[in-house]
Symmetry: C2
């Protein structure tokens, strides 16, 4: 079989790269960096890749708006894209330095680092550690945590350190001075695994998630989630409540709701609803019936696919 | 009567300043710039100001996450803050230059501007104009459109131009080379007007919005909107649908739904629901009854106040 092609948001050694590597660890796949979310979506629609691994939500920062805007697909540019899986990646940050710069490690660290590099979002995620150990030290924003690791791996002049993942440290060959420097141990990013429904290669293969965890020797029962997007007639009172009622009527529990501007008229929205059945019998018929009813009360309505719930699995 | 004090997100001549000036134009008020949303919320809670005017949503970019996070009030820091009004400000950008730099105005503009200044978000909002007339010209991000206007008003060396509002041009005394250079004429920001419910000054005064528009000599009938935030037990199937059903049961139409992470446990949310009655009789009793019922099915539930719907008024 030819190798699968999987798009992720670059650069190499990004958290998206790590999520793609985790998700496809049991498959023979080429993981391909893409410069933007839109590039990854376009590559998937054009069948240049079979899958794309895209962050959609972070447990601390909330939804990733760029991803929602691509799923909104206001120009019908990504009609063949569907969700076929998800992956939860807990975000652990490390303090990295050039190999050999501090041979004694953190235990013997002498306070000589003069500059820190990371992605702007990571500063806030490590504030407790930074204010305790690096108060007043210059901070340089860079475009990714992986880039930060790359910079310190090559820097022979300054005493710089990077905040990035262990995955990035291994990729760029830096030392890890200190692990788990993030404020919140539970900060987790959820990635959607997208496929092109017309791609024969991804259709032939039933996408395999990493094995579900086992409880007492038994494989934990998995439930499924479904993503549906829709727009409603906002001038019709109760239209939104009526649409949401349909999920309940078919026994589908709402797990998330997001909205984005429709961009057709101000203050009209595209709704993103994820739903699932709590029982394990699968959602197929309930989803089909719900979609049928939704099409009666919505202006537009799109089924973005059904996949195994990995959160419930990991929480068992 | 002592003058009212109104907080807005600075600097002077920002869009928030303009929204505050519009909203309080008929009242004697001191408009006071604040460095951050959190500063404005704190000043309001501490009664250093009577009102705060805070952007909550843009028709193109969607919800303002920082504002939702302050309204989420996870630490109970702003318990006395409620919404008492709203204001819609259509975002019009202008091309500004130092007074007298181009005495012939845009008609005689010779292509000699070498640098552009504005807030990062404004580039994207004027892309059509910029790619037509300023392709390849250096772009300098600055912290606000007002700051951009200030820079070009003082710059005696470079031929710089700013993208900012007419309000900022008047404040900083620049020329307006070209008006309405934005791509979307309908790009509008909605501001919430917040008050401290314990403040006697704002309690004495019934807050006056600018007069509602008139239709055929008649004042347009206004409806009201109410903001309610709540959290639910996510382990209980149907909990969200049950909560949303309550609004419908009391005749309250859902106009927006937003979610933010609860930060208590990953993948649990704070829901922000705005609702209103389509009839004009006011929402008082329906909201009271809905809140009573909501408290039975939610974990936490907060009434953020009821105010006159200015969108319906302006759309009549």
């Amino acid at each position: 079989m030819t190798r699968l092609r999987v798009a992720f948001l670059g650069p190499l050694a990004s958290f998206s790269h790590q999520a793609a590597a985790d998700s496809f660890s049991k498959l023979t796949a080429d993981l391909l960096p893409h410069a933007s979310f839109a590039d990854a979506f376009a590559a998937l629609q054009n069948k240049e890749v079979d899958y794309a691994v895209i962050p959609c939500e972070n447990s601390t920062n909330g939804s990733v708006v760029q991803t929602l805007d691509l799923l909104a697909d206001r120009e019908d540019a990504y009609t063949d894209v569907k969700v076929c899986g998800e992956h939860y990646l807990t975000v652990h940050h490390c303090l990295l330095a050039r190999k050999g710069l501090y041979p004694g490690g953190w235990a013997e660290y002498d306070g000589s680092i003069t500059k820190l590099y990371t992605h702007p979002q990571a500063w806030g995620q490590c504030e407790n550690f930074l204010s305790k150990h690096f108060k007043g030290v210059e901070r340089q924003d860079v475009s990714s945590t992986s880039k930060a690791a790359e910079i310190v791996s090559k820097d022979m002049v300054e005493r710089g350190a990077a905040i990035a993942s262990r995955f990035a440290a291994e990729h760029h060959g830096t030392d890890v001075l200190r692990e788990d420097i993030e404020d919140r141990a539970d900060n987790t990013t959820r990635f959607l695994i997208l496929r092109n429904v017309l791609s024969e290669r991804s259709a032939q293969l039933e996408f395999e998630q990493p094995s579900p965890p086992t409880v007492g020797g038994q494989t934990a029962q998995l439930t499924h989630k479904t993503l549906i997007t829709f727009t409603i007639d906002h001038s019709s009172p109760g239209a939104l409540a009526n649409a949401l009622l349909i999920f309940k009527a078919h026994g589908l529990n709402l797990t998330t709701i997001n909205t984005r501007p429709s961009l057709k008229k101000p203050w009209q929205y595209i709704f993103f609803v994820e739903c699932g059945k709590t029982a394990s019998e699968g959602n197929g018929e309930a989803v089909r019936n719900a979609l049928h009813d939704l099409r009666q009360v919505t202006e537009t309505c799109r089924d973005f696919g059904t996949w195994k719930d990995q959160l419930r699995a990991s929480n068992v």
